[in-house]
Symmetry: C2
Subunit: 224 residues, 2 copies
């Protein structure tokens, strides 16, 4: 089976405070994005990567690809105005029947086990959405105040959201809606259910300086 | 106004892997619980602490209190079989009209600003529950699969859950129910609404070795 990872790194990184978007911040001399790409390249020799970056970061992305990787397995493409549009532009490059991983560039600590788990579930069920249970108590804000939410049934959603191309490619032939915050929502709008798999605590999004520090420490400790 | 902080540290720390429960793990030579207690003692000279620990940890708790603090402001008491019962036992020590903070012992990074914010809101509204917006996409597991949850209205709940004694003390004269996972739920069962205030990213629960490392680094960087 063909395999593609569409890695989306569209953030402009304003939450980090600095000028360098978080996907380009360095850990042990290499950008966050390096570790993300490397995890997928390592999983299978024939997996191909489509790296979707904002127009203004394409040159920086090209430097990372040329500097660290066998660039024959990595294509770069410019993103759109939302995550939906960026993923859509990435998927437009895929013609082959395949399993497609859509992954956040700033989740650089995902394990090989998680990638395999998503692949296997997508092969069997057509989709695989990694999720974790909610550790905190949850509340819902209402018009008159707030109310408790039963956290037992709630799951926090991660990536790689993984799909068979027969589902994902036609699902993305749809007009954008605000509620398309992830690929699962697009596939559901296409009329399909999604299959959940177990996520990983370490597979968090790097959005703050403490997140970046923690990711560096976890890579050092070989948590991945 | 009198002020009490009921600090609950009932965890047996099985998630940490080691034998030492997480509230007793060391950061720069001092237990996590030290930093939590110190944050509240620092807030007001007249604030008193009721530290609720499992029976088997009372001696360790006594050593921390005697070793680091003015023990006249700290009472120790043995906890019960659930968080509800532990808080109930702690509250049984309070007779005075007061503002009462109920706080997780393993959230050691809360700021003075958060303590003040909770106090002010509890004075004005009777209660203050610190919450954060949900950063991840959320799903709800259903009988037939799962469905997206609109995260815009969802809040992650932290502590200190803060109340006027006139509300909290009578609310805890109630029989235990499984859904009493926090004090807000107990107060709502008593027929009162709770007031939400803004929480803090740094005010996370230490439950894993990476959490402990991150807390140590954040204390070092004076994130608190």
């Amino acid at each position: 089976m063909n395999k593609f990872a569409v890695i989306v790194a569209g953030g402009t990184g304003t939450r980090m405070g600095g000028e360098i978007p978080k996907q380009f911040q360095l850990i042990q001399g290499k950008p966050v994005l390096y570790y993300t790409i490397e995890a997928f390249l390592k999983a299978w020799d024939d997996l191909q990567i489509i790296l979707v970056l904002p127009e203004e970061h394409l040159e920086l992305g090209r430097e990372i690809v040329d500097g660290f990787f066998d660039h024959k397995r990595i294509r770069l493409t410019a993103g759109g105005r939302t995550r939906f549009h960026s993923v859509q532009l990435g998927l437009a490059q895929i013609r082959e029947e395949s399993i497609i991983f859509v992954h956040d560039g700033v989740r650089c600590l995902l394990s090989q086990a998680l990638i395999r788990r998503c692949f296997d579930a997508a092969m069997e069920h057509g989709s695989a959405i990694p999720v974790l249970p909610a550790k905190d108590s949850l509340r819902r804000v209402t018009e008159t105040g707030s109310e408790p939410v039963d956290r037992v049934a709630i799951r926090l959603v991660q990536t790689p959201q993984t799909f068979h191309s027969k589902i994902l490619l036609p699902a993305f032939n749809i007009d954008y809606k605000d509620r398309f915050t992830d690929e699962a929502a697009v596939v559901e709008a296409f009329g399909m259910q999604v299959h959940l798999v177990e996520g990983e605590e370490a597979n968090f999004k790097i959005t703050t300086p403490p997140d970046l520090h923690l990711a560096a420490w976890m890579l050092e400790q070989a948590f991945r």
